[in-house]
Symmetry: C2
Subunit: 282 residues, 2 copies
């Protein structure tokens, strides 16, 4: 067996807008959690990503995009996360065994029998499914302040945003929170540890996955965008495990250091935006 | 080697609403293409999918969901497609080698070397990325007639829909078509066959993938929702390969028979909806 290759900062290059956390933040959180170094590239973003001559085939519709050690580039947030989750140790206990990056990891995959590999793939897909649902939640949050078109100013669709915000606050936020609470409380892998304060704070299995990281960031963003509504929902005690997951993740190794480093960008005028008139307790 | 297990209709169960193609159609197209039999379940849909007691962990936020031969259930359209693509022969030439379903397939995976498996995984992820972008196009199409909230009637958000439709027709449809045209024309795998009428009608590699199937259906849906606008864009000749892909896919083995069978549901009041007032040449 050859010695493991040392990961270099230039092995992973994140293409995303500078200055906002945006959808790039989900990729950053995964890499930070795993301790995988990366560089960022913000300049001539669309010009680069749209050009097959610059990025290879296929070109990309929108950032984030991640250049892998192979030199090839992937886009679509959930797709990037699903691709790198096993090598980041974020695809669940079974899903992590599907890491094929590196010779030692490949040996582990080869040793899996039929049933183990089937379960591993399904666990990875369950993680991906939850990532996608949390990102749907995020997309709806974005549509609240841009209901007519992303390309128009908020000020030009403010009346419509007021209408959208009311429905979103009243019905959609509770629906999504209730769903994730149900995922957390029905997870059989954590049911055995009723005394543990973190017992029901894992969406899949009993270790952090990309799904936990994405939900953590979405809860962060919603608390920024709708502070009154989220405070009210937190106080209701109905979604305790979702909020406990949020607390747990910010203390996780890798994430804690990332937050403490000051590198993590603050929310401002990106996907999650705070317009006071769109918030409210109900 | 044991003889290959015969696939039974009850091995794959699609959970989706009855009566509309909806997001379930993308899963149907993949299974029909691959000749994999399946049954459908429409009754007590959300009641079932939301219940961990009925569907196991994790429960699902929304259909479509697909029950696999293992008995476990996956949701999120792109996630289902990414999971089943290799076993359907729809993950690209390399991606298809990642099929781990069945002993023969497992042997193929085991035989891949480091570089082959890396390329295979990246091809599968490129297919998934394009699936996700085509589904984003679909989601924006849906938001045009429901800009404020999915839960409200169209009639209660018709004014907003008129505004959203104008921007969508004028800028977003061309942007997405231009993107897919660029993916098709820059595909190096088909560049070698300039005389073939189907030369530039494959998004990844030189065989049909889930990305082709999804784009086919989205073009179908857009042509139903915006017949005037799509006719104008087709006549512009700028997106010839996208429209040729659409023609090619409907003649593909599996898809042709599915369309001829009359089983394929017609568009009506689902994701793609025709409201004459939202259409227009420009």
């Amino acid at each position: 067996m050859s010695p493991p290759k040392r990961k270099r900062t230039e092995d992973y290059v994140l293409y995303y807008w500078g200055g906002i956390p945006g959808r790039g933040e989900y990729v950053r959180l995964a890499l930070e959690y795993a301790g995988i170094p990366y560089t960022e590239r913000h300049d001539k973003l669309l010009e680069t990503l749209h050009s097959p001559a610059k990025v290879g085939h296929p070109p990309h519709f929108a950032p984030p995009a991640l250049q892998l050690p192979s030199g090839r580039i992937l886009s679509q947030t959930a797709n990037i996360l699903n691709h790198i989750a096993p090598r980041c140790g974020l695809a669940g206990e079974g899903g992590n065994k599907l890491n094929t990056h590196g010779e030692d990891a490949r040996e582990t995959v080869r040793a899996l029998d039929e049933e183990e590999i089937e379960k591993a793939e399904e666990e990875r897909s369950h993680v991906n499914q939850l990532v996608m649902t949390a990102l749907d939640f995020q997309d709806e949050t974005h549509n609240v302040h841009h209901p007519i078109a992303s390309s128009l100013y908020y000020e030009d669709q403010k009346e419509e945003a007021l209408r959208a915000a009311k429905v979103f606050r009243e019905t959609r936020i509770p629906q999504f929170l209730e769903y994730f609470e149900s995922v957390l409380t029905s997870n059989p892998a954590t049911a055995k540890h009723p005394d543990n304060a973190h017992a029901q704070t894992y969406l899949v299995g009993s270790r952090t996955t990309t799904a936990d990281l994405v939900l953590f960031h979405v809860i962060d963003g919603l608390s920024f965008q709708f502070p009154k509504r989220m405070a009210k929902l937190k106080a209701s005690k109905k979604y305790d495990n979702v909020f406990k997951l949020h607390e747990r993740v910010q203390e996780e190794k890798g994430i804690k250091e990332y937050i403490a480093s000051g590198k993590r960008l603050k929310f401002s005028m990106g996907i999650f935006r705070h317009y006071e008139e769109l918030d409210g307790e109900d």
